[in-house]
């Protein structure tokens, strides 16, 4: 029999593991991957160039739309740089509200990731549990900011929304439920043998490779590198909070899972601390329209890792240059290493394990009835009711299922 020949297959730009485009040219020998050539850039929208034609405030809303999941990340990272250039001292209450929304964003992002990861390995029950619990966080974000994503909480010099005592109580109540569920997920991840066996030794990235390839966030921390901007280069008021940097030395997808689940616990604890110590005072300071010439480099620990923004001002009301380096760009370079000499079947979960970004921004649906000329708008509440009734008409009652099978 003749020996196996290498085969090249193109995975992407549209492919099963991601909702966003990226291309992986994979060379295979049998079922083993010999090399991977990654191509990104399909989502390049010219946002950095566009910032040069907009005012600092307009850019805040533009940059918040870089990502549908970690929108607050980009908005905060950018606004910190602008505030540094304008020498603004952001009120402490505003700093706390920024952190609060930031940690809620981490909760929903990690829960979303956990669901996607479970789906990639065929554990769809866990996927649905995790996404159900993510809705608790999404409801909190909608409650306190008016939006499920793109919360627009920041403004230059502070925040646009306050937290009332009732909202704080709602958040604490949701934390009770979430903390219990997160504990359950940690038990599942660390005790359920199918999950452990499927994720252990998969997508290995040694500590040395993680360091030299510039991996960030949970990807780096699961390779034993205890880096976290909130600890190393604290922004907002993170220096006032008590939290652990979660690391794992397993260097595989299993480690990345455990790190993210433990980070959920840390975020809940931080949210409790913030609400207990929420300072009184104003929400904003007045920001100038024109920003003095200068340069600022801002860092932020996004759910996926370090996000950086560089802003150069020239004394006008528009920036001279805004540079963004999002965490996935830092982590994507490690993916080829994680896949080398591994099975093709591991490709979806390995790619998903760096948690590359995708959007979930729809909260209002425009309906055009067949034949009708006019359009109707469906609100979030109507859409939700429509979904429940659609299933009910087909004999599935989610409420009953939930009461029957879900503990509590």
């Amino acid at each position: 029999m003749s020996p196996l020949k290498d085969v090249d297959i193109a995975v992407g730009p549209q492919h099963p593991a991601l909702k966003e485009p990226a291309s992986f040219l994979v060379s295979l020998r049998g079922e083993t991957i010999t090399s991977v050539n990654v191509k990104v850039g399909y989502n390049h929208r010219g946002i950095e160039k566009a910032t040069e034609d907009r005012t600092y405030l307009q850019n805040l809303y533009l940059l918040e739309r870089i990502c549908g999941i970690c929108s607050h990340t980009h908005a905060t990272c950018y606004v910190q740089a602008v505030e540094e250039l304008a020498a603004l001292e952001v009120p402490r209450r505003a700093q706390y509200i920024r952190m609060l929304v930031g940690e809620l964003e981490r909760l929903h992002s990690h829960l979303l990731w956990f669901g996607v990861a479970a789906h990639e390995i065929g554990f769809d029950t866990l996927f649905m549990y995790s996404w159900r619990d993510r809705e608790l966080v999404m409801d909190l974000l909608a409650n306190i900011t008016g939006n499920r994503v793109n919360y627009s909480v920041n403004t230059i010099g502070g925040v646009r929304r306050d937290i009332s005592a009732e909202q704080a109580a709602d958040i604490l109540k949701a934390m009770d439920t979430l903390e219990e569920r997160i504990k359950y997920y940690i038990n599942v991840a660390t005790e359920e043998t199918t999950l452990i066996n499927r994720l252990s030794g998969v997508g290995v990235l040694s500590r040395e490779d993680a360091a030299s390839l510039g991996a960030v966030g949970p990807t780096a921390r699961a390779s034993g590198i205890p880096r976290d901007v909130r600890k190393d280069d604290p922004y907002c008021a993170y220096a006032e909070l008590d939290f652990k940097v979660c690391v794992s030395d397993t260097c595989d997808v299993f480690g990345r899972t455990v790190v993210r689940l433990r980070e959920l616990q840390e975020s809940c604890s931080m949210i409790r601390q913030m609400l207990a110590a929420l300072p009184e005072g104003p929400l904003t300071v007045k920001a100038p329209r024109k920003v003095p010439a200068g340069e600022a480099f801002s860092r932020y620990e996004a759910p996926r890792g370090e996000d950086v923004h560089y802003v150069r001002s020239n004394g006008t009301e528009k920036p001279d240059r805004v540079k963004v380096r999002a965490p996935t760009l830092a982590n994507i370079q490690a993916v080829s290493k994680m896949l080398e000499d591994r099975f093709l079947a591991d490709l979806p979960i390995v790619i998903a394990a760096i948690d590359p970004c995708f959007s979930c921004t729809d909260r209002m649906v425009e309906v055009r009835r067949r034949g009708a000329r006019s359009r109707e708008l469906m609100s979030w509440e109507e859409l939700r009711r429509h979904g429940i009734e659609w299933y009910r008409a087909r004999g599935v009652d989610m409420g009953t299922l939930s009461r029957k099978y879900i503990t509590r």
């Binding site: 050539n37 191509k39 990104v40 850039g41 399909y42 390049h44 010219g46 950095e48 160039k49 540094e84 360091a211 030299s212 390839l213 510039g214 960030v216 880096r227 901007v229 190393d232 280069d233 604290p234 340069e295 480099f297 860092r299 370090e306 950086v308 560089y310 150069r312 001279d320 240059r321 540079k323 380096r325 760009l329 830092a330 994507i332 370079q333």
Partner: protein, 152 residues
């Protein structure tokens, strides 16, 4: 800010920075500007003497009369050195730093695509972030570029 001042002192030992071209901006932020000399040697020595273990980003700028490339170097203790290298427009090229920081590959490809700065010593690979088939000589982050430039 003793640690930051230590880094500045070490940088001054490595290279005779003219007055005003290196300064501590605030806690954990140092800015330095390099105009003439052996940049590659300065970069290598800065990384080892300053204990910089990370290169979170490289920013390319069109400053009108010249380009600039800022290497944002970071240490484990949170100190960031924004090392700016001025690049003349008539000789828009730099040397790759991927030997020290393999992670720099995509950041350097971005310099090539978006500003048209040549990066010598970068291994062959697919372009980033502009699409295959993007016209030659069109670099969107140059100040004289606008979308009408594509029609010419």
């Amino acid at each position: 800010m003793d640690k930051e001042q230590d880094v500045v002192a070490k940088m001054r030992e490595i290279f005779p920075f003219p007055e005003g071209s290196i300064a501590v901006q605030r806690a954990r932020r140092i800015n330095a500007e390099f105009r003439e000399g052996d940049f590659d040697d300065l970069f290598n020595r800065t990384v080892s003497a300053g204990e910089f273990t990370m290169l979170p980003a490289i920013s390319g700028l069109d400053q009108g009369d010249c380009f600039a490339v800022i290497y944002h170097l970071a240490r484990e203790d949170g100190i960031v050195l924004n090392l700016k290298r001025i690049v003349p427009k008539e000789k828009a090229e730099v040397r790759s730093v991927t030997r020290l920081f393999p992670c720099a590959e995509l950041y350097e490809r971005e310099l090539m695509d978006m500003l048209g700065i040549a990066v010598n010593g970068l291994s062959a690979g697919r372009r980033y972030p502009l699409p295959e088939g993007w016209p030659e000589g069109q670099h969107p982050l140059r100040k004289d570029w606008n979308k009408e430039s594509l029609d010419t």
